[in-house]
């Protein structure tokens, strides 16, 4: 208990140090190039009151969510198939290596050219960038599954639902969580690029706009606001879900 409390204190101290450093540096650099935390905060507050920042933020969040769900679903299915079937692994392996190595920018531009400057193209481009990583992680999970549980399930004639829900899914859960963690971070960064290149709203579009206006304060404000939202997702959704899924594990001493 006291250990977790001191960990929280250390974390808060670390965050405070970050803002202190930022403040100190801003004292010596021109505010146009490097605004102080206070200036950025007033900008965020003003944009929130006017409703502009919440609008662009929510648009970006929806894109992140759509691309994330799509990438996790397709990537998990492919990864599971490759982990369980030798044939599928052999056939899909070159595709995987190819897609893992195509730069995100190329996928985005080709999507816009081939599909058009649409929402579908934007979300497809982001999902395509993430699918191979998800597939690789889930494939490792599918390979690492313990066959003895499957034998038990066969002896007791488990239904298909029971096999997936009670035998397979819990074994893949840690891999799924790892893919989701790294996935959400990657997806939001790519969503910003997609917005910059071909959308007329969202955080990426706004950052592009303020880049042209050379407004560093606004760029930092939008970035900070989005990072704050992602931190909230991590602490309020991902971590509690993870703890729930792990509750059967013996407690660490």
């Amino acid at each position: 208990m006291s250990r977790s409390r001191s960990a929280t204190a250390a974390r808060l101290l670390s965050v405070a140090l970050f803002f202190l450093l930022w403040h100190v540096v801003s004292l010596y650099v021109s505010p146009r190039l490097f605004p102080s935390p206070w200036q950025v905060a007033t900008f965020v507050l003003r944009e929130t009151e006017s409703g502009v920042l919440p609008y662009h933020l929510s648009i970006t969040l929806l894109r992140v969510l759509a691309a994330f769900v799509l990438a996790m679903a397709v990537g998990s299915a492919l990864g599971f198939l490759m982990g369980r079937s030798r044939g599928a692994d052999v056939v899909l392996q070159p595709w995987l290596i190819l897609t893992l190595n195509i730069p995100a920018l190329v996928v985005i531009i080709l999507s816009y050219i081939w599909i058009g400057m649409t929402e579908t193209a934007a979300i497809t481009a982001v999902a395509l960038n993430k699918i191979p990583n998800v597939a690789v992680t889930i494939r490792e999970g599918a390979r690492a599954m313990d066959p003895t549980y499957m034998e038990m399930a066969r002896v007791y004639r488990f239904s298909r639902v029971k096999i997936y829900r009670d035998v397979i899914a819990p074994q893949l859960q840690p891999y799924f969580a790892a893919a989701a963690r790294s996935g959400i971070a990657l997806v939001w960064k790519i969503v910003l690029v997609v917005e910059l290149l071909g959308r007329s709203n969202g955080v990426g579009f706004q950052i592009h706009l303020y880049f042209q206006l050379f407004d560093v304060r606004a760029i930092m404000g939008y970035t900070l606001a989005f990072v704050a939202v992602m931190l909230a997702v991590e602490f309020l959704a991902l971590q509690p879900l993870d703890r729930r899924a792990q509750r059967w594990r013996p407690k660490q001493v």
Partner: protein, 248 residues
């Protein structure tokens, strides 16, 4: 009209002509060579033999987990409701004790789960996870799961190894008590001859690899007369009849 499933009254047979393992270097190794088994209704059969002779392989074939062999299984065995107590308890660690038993049942039946846990003395453990149990308790759950499914054939693969002798003895008594309530066909693999004499009606001895049946012995001791001394005497006699295949 709903038919109650009753225990089949005829024998189940299995004939394994040949079973090979292919080693990592591609070598073929004959594990089983002409092995015939007969499981009689209400009969507790033990399979005993030198370690590494193919006892577990035989069991896996009978359970339908390994189809790559020459021979023939009774079709009724493939259709029969079977249950297994494996060498390790093989409980799903991410499901509670009660859920582990419940999942093995064809239909959800909570009262039956409770009765099964009570029958192995684990009433209070229903909501624990397997990691919170001792090995002896986990083995009890595995027994409860097997009996809760009311199998026609029960397989046991050395279910009491790595327990201290007192715990193993209590679990053997429990196994016999559960079986006597509803005697089904049982095939248990063990390398412990005294254990086999204490539990079985019939003991099948296997030879060294490649395994064949060396002989079958009926245990002619009455079930209520199997005190340690009588068991030792009978085991010693069997060890003389089958030298090198079992240690008394």
């Amino acid at each position: 009209m709903r038919m109650e499933r009753s225990l089949p009254t005829r024998d189940l047979t299995a004939r394994i002509d040949r079973k090979e393992h292919i080693g990592a270097d591609g070598d073929r190794l004959v594990v089983l060579d002409g092995l015939e088994l007969r499981l009689a209704p209400g009969t507790f059969t033990c399979l005993i033999g030198p370690s590494g002779c193919g006892k577990t392989t035989t069991l896996r074939i009978l359970m339908g987990l390994d189809d790559e062999f020459d021979g023939e299984l009774d079709p009724a065995l493939r259709e029969a409701r079977i249950a297994t107590v494996f060498q390790e308890p093989r409980l799903l660690p991410w499901r509670t004790v009660a859920q582990n038993v419940l999942l093995a049942l064809p239909r959800p039946d909570l009262p039956r789960v409770e009765a099964a846990l009570a029958s192995v003395g684990l009433e209070g453990m229903a909501d624990r996870y397997p990691a919170q149990l001792s090995l002896g308790q986990a083995r009890r759950v595995a027994l409860a799961r097997a009996f809760a499914t009311e199998p026609e054939v029960l397989f046991l693969d050395e279910p009491f190894v790595s327990l201290d002798e007192a715990s193993a003895g209590r679990l053997r008594d429990l196994l016999i008590a559960l079986w006597q309530r509803r005697p089904m066909k049982v095939l248990m693999v063990t390398h412990n001859l005294r254990e086999a004499v204490r539990l079985a009606d019939r003991i099948v001895f296997l030879t060294e690899r490649p395994a064949r049946v060396a002989g079958v012995a009926e245990v002619e001791l009455p079930r209520d007369g199997r005190d340690p001394e009588a068991v030792s005497r009978f085991a010693a006699e069997l060890a003389r009849r089958f030298p090198g295949l079992a240690v008394a």
